[in-house]
């Protein structure tokens, strides 16, 4: 479904990705693990078009997306939940979700765009609202609250939900467990599994290697902008090298 072929990405003169090649198949959960600064988030930002690769190709369902601007990539069906959640703090929960459906309303060419959709007038956005609220009922309760007043866990749920509003085929998740209590983390991971069961392919970046590898079918280990090893999640969990470096055993 998604293929990265020898991707090089730079921050100014600094080469952050030194030739990443990876593959995500339809219906999979794939995780990227690695230390701080290994290039995990950079990989996701390169896929979603926020950063442009200097060399290499990214193809998604048969078309080359490495030169596309981020908004076109969203329309192709890739949704990115950025690191640190990045919800809109001064918009309400509902407005945050409506903004997530921005590319849908663009596709349907409805004007005025979001309000009628949100009211369930046109298209599939109403059902997308229902889906998201079913998965995270707390968001329904907080519908009219400002995004910035939510707790960290709720903000993460909102960020994931916002990304789901565009009905993506592939969801890029950047550190969804960052700074959250263990009980919330397991809630989020359960939701990720649910999302995957509904047919959304997932590429997950995590510091929490144990939980991530347990969840994923396959995993890649990044180090200094290169892929160090990859394999089945369970195999990586048992590998001595990964245990030593990332699992603290």
């Amino acid at each position: 479904m998604l293929e990265l072929n020898d991707i090089h990405t730079f921050y100014g003169p600094i080469e952050a990705l030194k030739g990443i090649t990876l593959k995500v198949n339809q219906g999979e959960i794939v995780c990227l693990i690695g230390n701080n600064g290994a290039g995990k988030s950079t990989t996701l930002m390169t896929i979603s078009g926020i950063l442009k690769p200097k060399a290499g190709t990214i193809s998604f369902i048969g078309s080359d997306i490495s030169d596309m601007p981020p908004h076109s990539i969203v329309e192709m069906g890739i949704s990115h939940v950025p690191e640190g959640r990045r919800i809109f703090p001064r918009l309400t929960v509902k407005e945050n979700l409506e903004m997530g459906a921005y590319s849908v309303s663009r596709r349907l060419k409805t004007t005025p765009p979001i309000p009628p959709l949100a009211r369930g007038g046109v298209g599939g956005v109403k059902s997308q609202f229902d889906k998201v609220y079913e998965m995270f009922p707390v968001l329904k309760e907080r519908e009219k609250q400002m995004g910035g007043t939510l707790s960290g866990g709720e903000q993460q749920m909102l960020a994931i939900s916002r990304a789901l509003m565009s009905e993506p085929k592939l969801l890029l998740l950047d550190e969804p467990s960052l700074g959250l209590a263990p009980i919330i983390v397991s809630r989020i991971f359960k939701a990720i599994r649910e999302i995957n069961k509904e047919g959304v392919t997932i590429l997950l970046v995590e510091q929490n290697a144990h939980a991530a590898l347990n969840l994923s079918g396959r995993g890649y280990v990044l180090e200094n902008g290169r892929i160090k090893m990859h394999g089945q999640g369970k195999d990586l969990l048992n590998s001595e090298e990964v245990k030593k470096a990332y699992l603290g055993e």
Binding site: I50, P82, R86, F88, L91, M165
Partner: protein
């Protein structure tokens, strides 16, 4: 004096809580016969009287509409009544006499408003917030629409200027308030608009209606041109670039003698005509500007509520998140700059048509700062707030003419206090959300 006071107290609905006696004693209705005599020494009186008038009327409102409405009303009334006093003194000095009855007119309008608040059965059926805004809009419409009938030329002149600044500040509000891009050279677009009309009119002999679309196209284009280098930058760097742009435009106008007549400015700009009627009287021009200001507010409101406006707000809140949910941030920032410039250009054309003279002096950096102050004072992203901010910042310096040397000091310290106690601006509290 006392009869007037009693008349007002009798006709207004009795408040549930009796007013404190002291309040009634110190309350003093200004009468035209006394107004002119005070000019010289009465600057204390000039502030005390409006203060009491405003306080008294605000207290009347308190039992009906709560503290917040009363405070807001107090501020508006105080500003309005003091202004009336100030211009009266000022006009009195110039003309050596008064012919208006404006204080009574004003008080009458307010009295009618109090009546409507208290009695109208239609309003009781509406939800409270709706009733409040209905009455407020009615009241404001009456005051605004009838201004040339009770106001003196001086007041109308200030009102026309307020109207032009409302358009200008709403333009900047799009860029700074909605999209969150700090623009410190906004006066450049104002200047381009004004000079376009001035040059098209004096050099090519084009009329107002022919020059208007051409000028607006030119200004919008210049908005795009500035946006292209500026959009690579963020925050402080963007502010510096816009500042530079503003200065470049002013310096070009100042030094290109053969084309713009340099610091001497361009005079003899023709006034606009409608159906062959020449718009030259200040009262006519008032309505002319009013129509454009209403148009600006209406269009900007609609655009801000559309998908474009939502994209702007999302970009202001978080640019990376915006692009990750599928907003073309570059394009929308470009639209924001160009759309903002468009309204600045309109304000410029109207300014040139009103003054019939333009010179680079009117478009200095201070002008950009003043407009920015209007937006921040009113509340970033709040359309009614920015209207209020513009009116206050045009009127306040005029009101404070009485205190002469301390004028700018008072204005400056007022702004500082406002930013300490209400950093979101006068009406910016809820305005950040889509539904405000």
């Amino acid at each position: 004096m006392n009869t007037v006071e009693h008349k007002i107290q009798n006709t207004s609905p009795p408040p549930p809580h009796p007013l404190p006696q002291g309040e009634g004693d110190s309350f003093d209705i200004p009468s035209p016969s006394r107004g002119e005599g005070e000019g010289g020494g009465g600057s204390l009186n000039l502030f005390l009287r409006p203060l009491f008038i405003a306080l008294w009327l605000a207290l009347l409102f308190l039992p009906f509409r709560g503290l917040k409405a009363a405070v807001i009303l107090f501020i508006i009334l105080f500003a309005a009544v003091s202004l009336l006093k100030a211009f009266k003194n000022y006009a009195g000095k110039i003309k050596g006499g008064l012919n208006g009855d404006s204080d009574h007119y004003f008080i009458n309008i307010l009295r009618i408003a109090v009546e409507i608040y208290g009695r109208c059965p239609y309003l009781e059926k509406l939800p409270e917030s709706k009733a409040r805004s209905t009455v407020f809009i009615l009241l404001m419409s009456v005051i605004v629409l009838t201004l040339p009938f009770y106001g003196h030329d001086y007041l109308i002149d200030i009102a026309v200027l307020s109207g032009i600044y409302i358009i200008l500040a709403q333009g900047l509000n799009i860029v700074v308030g909605f999209t969150g891009l700090l623009n410190l050279g906004f006066a450049a677009f104002y200047a381009i608009g004004a000079y376009s009309y001035a040059l098209l009119n004096t050099k090519l002999g084009l009329g107002f209606w022919a020059s208007l679309p051409l000028s607006l196209m030119l200004v919008t284009l210049s908005g795009f041109i500035l946006a292209i280098p500026a959009l690579r930058l963020r925050g402080d760097y963007l502010a510096i670039v816009t500042l530079g742009f503003g200065e470049i435009v002013r310096l070009v106008l100042n030094n290109w003698d053969s084309f713009t007549k340099g610091p001497n400015g361009i005079g003899g700009i023709g006034p606009p005509h409608i159906f062959g009627m020449r718009i030259s009287g200040i009262g006519q021009f008032y309505y002319f500007v009013l129509i454009f200001a209403l148009l600006a507010v209406f269009v900007i409101r609609r655009v801000a509520a559309s998908r474009i406006g939502r994209a702007w707000i999302a970009i202001r809140e978080d640019e990376i998140a915006s692009s990750s949910i599928g907003i073309n941030t570059t394009a929308y920032k470009l639209y924001s700059f160009a759309f903002g410039a468009f309204w600045a250009g309109l304000a410029g054309v109207l300014f040139a048509a009103k003054m019939q003279f333009v010179s680079p002096e009117s478009f200095t950096f201070m002008e950009s700062v003043l407009v920015l102050c209007m937006v921040i004072l009113g509340g970033l992203g709040s359309i009614p707030g920015v209207i209020l901010g513009s009116i206050i910042l045009v009127m306040l310096p005029e009101m404070l003419r009485e205190v002469q040397l301390y004028r700018m000091l008072a204005l400056g310290s007022g702004l500082v206090l406002l930013m300490i106690f209400r950093p979101q601006g006068l009406m910016g509290g809820k305005g950040v959300s889509f539904r405000g």
